[in-house]
C-alpha cells in the first residue's frame, strides 16, 4: 500500500480568501478516491494542487516521492505522469481527434509518430470512438468529447488520473458512457482522484470518499461508512440534499 500522493498542511489563499486550510490527504497506488462536497468548498482547488495548476500557498504536495510545492521541481516532468480531465473537456479546437491524442507524446518525444498513431487507435477503441479518428472537435457531442479527453490524458501513460466533475457539463443520456470508461479504468487498476456529484459512481467505484467543505476535509472513509454511518453533521446535510435530488 505505497502512497502515490501525500499532501500535508496544504494551504491555499487567493488574496485574503483562505480557500484550503491545513489539508492532509493521501492516495495509495491503485486506489480510487472520490472527493465530494458543496459548491465552492475547494474541491477543484485541491485537485488542481495535485498537478500544480494552482500553486499552493504553503504546505507540501508529494507526488511519487517529489514535493511539487517546491519551486525548483521540473513540473512538466511530473505532469507527464499525471493525466487530467476537465469539466469542460478542453480539447484542442485547432486539432483533429487523432492530433489531440498524439500531440503530447510526440512533442515530448515519448513515442514516435507511428507508435502514437497505433496508441491513439487503441485508446479510441477503449473509449468506444475509433470511428472518429479524423474528426474535428466541433463535430462531436459533449459525451464524445469527454471520452476523447480521457483518451488524450491516457496517451501519456500516466500513473495517476485526476477528474474534475467530468460529467457535470453533459446531457444526462451521455453521462453513462463517460462513467463506463472511468469504471473500466478503475477496474484496470488506475490510480484515480475524482471530484464528482455522481453518488452512484462514488458508491460503486470508490475505495475511499473524502468530504470537503469550507476548505477543510471534514470526514473520510469507505462508501459504506460515508453513506450509511456518517458522523459529521455537515456531511449528513449534504448527503440529504444530493440523495433527495
Amino acid at each position: 500500500m505505497s502512497q502515490l500522493i501525500k499532501v500535508s498542511h496544504l494551504y491555499k489563499n487567493y488574496g485574503k480568501h483562505h480557500i484550503l486550510k491545513d489539508i492532509d490527504f493521501h492516495v495509495n497506488n491503485n486506489e480510487v478516491v472520490v472527493i465530494i462536497g458543496p459548491s465552492g468548498a475547494g474541491k477543484s482547488t485541491l485537485l488542481r494542487a495535485l498537478n500544480r495548476l494552482d500553486a499552493p500557498t504553503s504546505g507540501s504536495v508529494i507526488i511519487n516521492g517529489l514535493d511539487i510545492a517546491k519551486k525548483d521541481v521540473n513540473i512538466n516532468k511530473v505532469r507527464e505522469n499525471v493525466g487530467m480531465v476537465f469539466q469542460h473537456f478542453n480539447l484542442f479546437n485547432n486539432l483533429t481527434v487523432a492530433q489531440n491524442i498524439m500531440l503530447a507524446p510526440v512533442e515530448l518525444k515519448k513515442q514516435t509518430k507511428k507508435e502514437a498513431e497505433a496508441n491513439a487507435h487503441r485508446l479510441l477503441k477503449l473509449v468506444g470512438l475509433d470511428d472518429k479518428f479524423n474528426y474535428k472537435i466541433p463535430q462531436l457531442s459533449g459525451g464524445q468529447q469527454q471520452r476523447i479527453a480521457i483518451a488524450r490524458a491516457l496517451a501519456m501513460n500516466p500513473k495517476l488520473m485526476l477528474f474534475d466533475e467530468p460529467t457535470s457539463a453533459l446531457d444526462p443520456e451521455m453521462v453513462a458512457d463517460v462513467l463506463d470508461v472511468m469504471k473500466k479504468l478503475a477496474k484496470e487498476g488506475m490510480t484515480m482522484v475524482v471530484v464528482t456529484h455522481e453518488m452512484g459512481f462514488a458508491k460503486e467505484v470508490a475505495d475511499r470518499i473524502v468530504f470537503v467543505d469550507d476548505g477543510k476535509i471534514l470526514e473520510e472513509g469507505t462508501p459504506d461508512h460515508m453513506f450509511n454511518h456518517p458522523t459529521n453533521p455537515r456531511l449528513k446535510t449534504f448527503l440529504n440534499k444530493v440523495l433527495q435530488a
Binding site: N51, L53, N76, K77, V78, R79, E80, V82, G83, M84, F86, H88, N90, L91, F92, N93, N94, L95, L103, A104, E107, L108, A149, R152, A153, M156
Partner: protein
C-alpha cells in the same frame, strides 16, 4: 496547396523588402558619387509663382529658377525637396536639409535661427476678397474672419493689425484652402504676398485685390544659423552675377510679366485633369501602395513581438508591452511623423530619409494597434486550452506555439485586414514630411491649377478603388478560411 501559397507570399514579401532596402541605399550612393557638391534644398512646392510643379510635374518658379541659375553659375548641384513651408523650416533647423528657398521673408525673428542671403526679391502683403464683396478697405473687416497661410508674411501682417481692425484670423496650411475659404464666404478676406495673389488671379482664381502691397518684405535664401557658410557665399556671389548678366530679370519677367512658366491653357475639365496628370497620379498611387506594403510588413513584425510579449507570464514583459502600446497608440500620427522626421535628426545629428521616417512612423503607430489586437486575440482563447496543454506536461512555449497561437491568429485575421486598409489611408498623413504619395501629389497639382474640388475628387476615387479591391480580397480570405 495552402502551404505553398503562404511560402510563395512570404518569399515575395522578403524579396520586396530586400529590394527596397537596396534601392534606398542606392539612392544615397548616387548622391555621394557626384563630383560637384550636391545640396539638399527644401521648398514649399505649393507657392506659385515662386515654387510649384508645372504640368510635367517639374519644379519651377522664380525661386527654383534663380536657385538653378545660381547653382549652374557657381558650380554646385541642388536637390529640391518638396515639403510644406513649416516642414522645410524644421528640416533645415534639424540639419535634414542644407538650406531652403521658399519665398521666405527676412525677419528679425527668423534671423535669430537662420542665416539669410542678400535679398533676392521684394514682395508685399495684399488683401483680397470675393469679387462681389462690398469690402473696400481693412476698416470694413471688423468682426469678420480673415484667412491666412501659416508662416507667411500675410499671417504676420494679420497678427499685427487684427486688434486695430478687430477681425479674427483663420489659419490654413495650403494656399488653395485659404482661397477656397474666402470664395465660399467663410472668411471675408485673405492676406497673401502680392506676386502670389496676382499669379493666382491670372490662373482664374475668383478673387480681387483691394489694397496696395503693405509691409514690403525682402525674400532671402536661408541656412541653419552658423552652418553652411560656403553655400551662402556661393548664393550671394551667384545672385550678384546673374543680376549683372540680366538672367535674373529674365526669370522674374517670365513668371510675373509674361506667360512663360505659367500653366495657362491647361485643360481643367474633370477628364482633362485626369489625362494631364495621369502619370504623376499613378506615381503617387504607387508610392502610396509601396509605403503601405513596406510599412505593414514592419508593423506586423513590431506588433507580433510586442503583442506576444504582452501574454508572457512575466510582469516585466507585460509592462513593456502595455507601455509601448499605450505610447504609440496615444500619439497622433502627425505628431509622431514630425517627431521622427525632424526631431530625431536634431537629437542624433543623422538625417533620416523621408520614406524611412514614414515607414518608422507607421511601424510604431499601426504596429501598436496590431500588438493590441494580437494580445487581445491570444487572451481571448479559452484559458482551458492552455491548462489542458500544460496538464499534459507541455512547456509554456510549446503550448503557446501548438495550441494557443494557431487559435489566436485565426481570431485576429479580420482585424489584421482592417488594419491594412487603415494603414493605406494613414499614409496620406505622411504628405507632411514631403513623401510624394497620392495625397501630396494632389496638393502639388492643386497648388498649380487651383482646381481643389476636382483634383480631390479624383484622388478620393483612386483611394476608394484601391480600398474596394482590398476589401474584396479580405472578404475572399475570410470566406475561404471560414472566419
Amino acid at each position: 496547396m495552402k502551404k505553398r501559397f503562404w511560402k510563395w507570399a512570404l518569399g515575395s514579401l522578403i524579396a520586396i523588402i530586400s529590394f527596397s532596402c537596396l534601392s534606398l541605399m542606392g539612392n544615397q550612393n548616387s548622391v555621394k558619387a557626384a563630383g560637384e557638391p550636391t545640396y539638399q534644398i527644401g521648398t514649399d512646392v505649393t507657392f506659385p509663382p515662386f515654387e510649384f510643379a508645372n504640368s510635367q510635374n517639374k519644379y519651377v518658379g522664380i525661386d527654383i529658377d534663380i536657385l538653378n541659375a545660381i547653382a549652374k553659375d557657381q558650380g554646385f548641384k541642388v536637390n529640391i525637396k518638396p515639403t510644406s513651408f513649416n516642414g522645410a523650416i524644421q528640416a533645415t533647423q534639424s540639419g535634414q536639409l542644407d538650406g531652403m528657398i521658399a519665398g521666405m521673408s527676412i525677419t528679425p525673428q527668423r534671423k535669430a535661427t537662420f542665416d539669410f542671403s542678400k535679398p533676392y526679391f521684394e514682395s508685399g502683403v495684399v488683401t483680397a476678397v470675393k469679387p462681389g464683396s462690398d469690402i473696400k478697405s481693412l476698416n470694413q473687416l471688423r468682426g469678420k474672419k480673415v484667412a491666412v497661410k501659416t508662416g507667411t508674411e500675410g499671417a504676420e501682417y494679420a497678427d499685427k493689425i487684427k486688434n486695430k481692425y478687430g477681425f479674427k484670423v483663420t489659419t490654413f496650411d495650403q494656399s488653395n484652402d485659404m482661397y477656397q475659404d474666402v470664395m465660399t464666404g467663410n472668411s471675408a478676406a485673405c492676406f497673401d504676398d502680392s506676386p502670389v495673389m496676382q499669379y493666382g488671379i491670372k490662373q482664374g482664381l475668383k478673387l480681387k485685390i483691394i489694397t496696395k502691397p503693405a509691409m514690403s518684405g525682402p525674400y532671402g535664401f536661408a541656412v541653419d544659423k552658423g552652418k553652411n557658410k560656403v553655400l551662402l557665399t556661393k548664393f550671394n556671389n551667384g545672385l550678384a552675377h546673374i543680376k549683372k548678366t540680366g538672367e535674373y530679370q529674365k526669370i522674374v519677367d517670365k513668371y510675373l510679366n509674361g506667360k512663360g512658366g505659367t500653366p495657362m491653357g491647361e485643360d481643367n475639365s474633370f477628364f482633362g485633369l485626369i489625362k494631364q496628370n495621369k502619370t504623376v497620379l499613378f506615381n503617387g498611387l504607387m508610392e502610396t501602395l509601396w509605403l503601405t506594403i513596406v510599412s505593414i510588413f514592419f508593423a506586423t513584425l513590431f506588433g507580433l513581438i510586442f503583442g506576444l510579449l504582452g501574454v508572457l507570464p512575466n510582469k516585466f514583459c507585460q509592462g513593456v508591452s502595455t507601455t509601448v502600446i499605450y505610447i504609440f497608440r496615444g500619439l497622433p500620427l502627425l505628431v509622431l511623423a514630425l517627431f521622427i522626421y525632424t526631431g530625431i535628426p536634431s537629437l542624433t545629428g543623422t538625417k533620416v530619409p523621408a520614406f524611412v521616417a514614414g515607414v518608422i512612423t507607421l511601424m510604431f503607430n499601426e504596429g501598436a494597434y496590431i500588438a493590441a489586437f494580437t494580445k487581445g486575440g491570444i487572451q481571448s482563447v479559452d484559458t482551458g486550452q492552455m491548462e489542458a496543454a500544460r496538464s499534459l506536461g507541455l512547456p509554456f512555449g510549446k503550448a503557446m506555439r501548438k495550441i494557443i497561437l494557431p487559435q489566436g491568429i485565426r481570431l485576429i485575421i479580420p482585424s489584421f485586414v482592417n488594419q491594412l486598409i487603415i494603414t493605406l489611408k494613414d499614409t496620406s498623413i505622411l504628405s507632411v514630411i514631403g513623401i510624394l504619395e497620392l495625397t501630396q501629389t494632389g496638393k502639388i497639382i492643386i497648388a498649380r491649377n487651383l482646381q481643389g474640388f476636382k483634383v480631390w475628387t479624383i484622388v478620393a476615387i483612386m483611394y476608394l478603388i484601391i480600398i474596394t479591391v482590398l476589401t474584396w480580397i479580405s472578404n475572399w480570405i475570410k470566406r475561404s478560411y471560414k472566419l
